[in-house]
Symmetry: C2
Subunit: 413 residues, 2 copies
């Protein structure tokens, strides 16, 4: 897999753009994004598990059921969640207006081929008029370049401080296949999705069924393994659109072609997931928690998530304080059986590795060394649970800072 430029526009046949239509209070920020494929795409989606679901999630779930998409329209600044029947109608209208503009004489695009996504404040009616007035300008802004990707990405960001997107190229059966993507998400981030939107494009020729399988595998090991604050949102959506322009031997069953695509999609999504954790609200450090020696991958994941989610571990990470007792404490309430007397814990970063806990008790270590290791921008907590099993998993999180509190203490104004 080779990194390339262009984001969601890197795969052939995709255009993207973003404009300001007037949803966000700031007069400078873009808030309406569009990604369009020149031809119908095989599509798959993964959505929030929250019982309270945004109107956009309800509509996109319906639209993706047929498995074919032409476009994704998304707004930031308003989640269109807890907005009742009016919110549903507004989401449907966003899709319908987009489909209308995509239609050509003799080639009507049904509204069901447009997915809708929203992110922002919950419980405020969507300014449907602003979106409606903005759509003409949005179509005029479409570009098949990195600029188009950038503008669309800016238009889905809320408290994000970094642009999180990219593109990669792999080879399937002699054909160069490209994958591009963008994500937003910074707070309300927790395993099993987050206040995240993720849009992935690819020119792979792949059946809807295999695309769906590849997406679920990738999401499980990427976006479902990050945590910022333990809140799972009402709007989480990850979509992948595959338009087949790469003209690779079609991926329709298991085999080398599927494996190549699925593992590339997984690595690609893991990179975006790490970027989201690094950009967690108020975060000053990326914190990777890896658990090994568990009975299985599921156990390892549960244990790692418990550590990465602990407010006390996150606060200690912020203070570069080698408080490994909090790591053991968080393992202890994860709900997975293990022998506390067999656990070892290491802290690691580009500045080195320090063994802080051995057989469940204190290891002899230098506090200065540990503080230096933990003061880096990316730190790792490496746990060997001591069960001797082959189960391992990494989870990405971040430290807990005052800025998180500031950002979320007065989000709506």
């Amino acid at each position: 897999m080779r990194e390339i430029s262009g984001g969601v526009c890197a795969p052939r046949g995709f255009r993207a753009g973003g404009i300001r239509c007037g949803i966000k209070a700031s007069s400078r920020k873009r808030d309406l994004a569009l990604i369009v494929s020149d031809r119908p795409c095989a599509a798959a989606g993964v959505f929030t598990t929250n019982r309270v679901q945004a109107a956009s999630v309800i509509v996109s779930r319906e639209h993706i059921a047929a498995g074919t998409l032409r476009a994704v329209i998304a707004n930031s600044g308003n989640a269109n969640a807890c907005t009742g029947e009016e919110g549903l109608q507004a989401a449907r209208r966003m899709a319908a207006l987009t489909a209308e503009r995509l239609s050509v004489p003799g080639g009507a695009v049904p509204a069901g081929q447009v997915a809708v996504a929203s992110t922002g404040v919950i419980g405020v009616p969507l300014p449907a008029g602003a979106i409606e007035r903005g759509i003409a300008g949005l179509f005029a802004a479409l570009e098949s370049s990195a600029e188009g990707h950038d503008a669309a990405l800016e238009a889905i960001m809320t408290t994000d401080t970094r642009k999180k997107g990219g593109a990669a190229e792999i080879e399937i059966g002699g054909a160069a296949v490209r994958i591009g993507g963008m994500v937003k998400g910074s707070g309300m981030i927790h395993p099993n999705m987050a206040t995240m939107l993720g849009f992935i494009t690819t020119d792979a020729d792949i059946s809807r069924g295999m695309l769906d399988r590849a997406l679920r595998r990738a999401v499980r090991r990427s976006f479902n393994r990050i945590t910022v604050d333990g809140d799972s949102s009402t709007n989480d959506t990850v979509l992948v659109l595959a338009n087949g322009e790469a003209r690779n031997p079609p991926v329709e069953t298991d085999g080398a072609g599927y494996e190549a695509f699925a593992s590339a999609l997984e690595s690609f999504c893991a990179g975006l997931a790490r970027a989201m954790a690094r950009d967690g609200e108020g975060a000053s450090r990326l914190m990777t928690v890896t658990v090994r020696g568990a009975a299985g991958e599921d156990d390892a994941e549960i244990l790692a998530k418990s550590v990465a989610s602990s407010s006390l571990v996150k606060a200690a990470c912020h203070g570069a304080d080698a408080n490994w007792g909090r790591v053991l404490c968080a393992l202890g309430y994860a709900g997975v059986p293990f022998d506390p007397g067999a656990v070892s814990v290491r802290f690691a970063s580009p500045a080195g590795t320090v063994l802080v806990c051995e057989k469940g008790g204190p290891a002899a270590f230098s506090e200065e060394d540990a503080a230096r290791v933990l003061s880096q921008e990316e730190v790792e907590i490496l746990v060997d649970i001591g069960g001797g099993g082959g189960g391992a998993a990494s989870v990405w999180g971040c430290d807990l800072t005052c800025d998180y509190v500031r950002i979320n203490g007065d989000y709506r104004s």
Copy 2:
């Protein structure tokens, strides 16, 4: 139930005291506490569910198995957790030394009649020498007065900023029965106990079995319904000692006597639990979340805990921001089925009540009114889940502040 003074020394036949033995870095803070009953007590205890258990928890569990206690010795500044075999020996020695001093010619007190508790940093060897040297002074400091209670309470505090204790009197079968108690706990506070210690004394004459039942019921509806940061600690312990000095008709079966005692214990513990949430690390507000209309009490409790634990709800509470969408979001990922379109949410405080969400959508309300209501020291989030059921529960939490991050970013130094 009538409030009285004296704390754990209010019930007849109890003495308490606290001294500084040198575990805490500060040269002014007390760190060793003792509560003694003049005669053997029926005793019951509830301990942490964390798989990693402090040495003191392991020892106290063993000692309480026989159901009779004479004393509780506790230290702060060191959790004696993740300290291996040495830690276990140190905890046993604390009990044995205390028992030795309680013994009189012809009346040896076995070590098994002394419970041990510790709170503080995890993974640092307990300074057993300091405790051993301190014990003579500790016994000399025992008093049967409010001063003894205060000194013992100070000696179990860590990041606590307020003294949390009290006493109450009820009548059982014509006899005045007293209950006294103290708790510590401020961070690592979560449903199913917390980094909390709670010691309750009573002069009720009650069998061990009925005392155990009353304690479990009280803890379920008090200490298990508070959350500060979602971390459950390695050291949580609540003990109740009943010495029978009130000479009430013995409580040995169900009936009016048991009911009077159990409901008094429950109210008493609920008061201490609220005080703990109010004193959550860095907290500026007590946040009570009440859910009604659920299918049962368990469902209501799960929903209320989900809201009270949400970092985003806690941060919004800190900012006095009426962001009710986060309340719906937290209800939605609680794992309990409900109809989002039937939910209503009110914010309340001594400054008034504001309906912010009706039938799952926005209610018309004044932002100024809501901000005034939420700016009080004690605020309530009142949720009617709309299921029409009789299940209701309240959970106590607090807001999330920068001070929480500061306190926990560098706890060990």
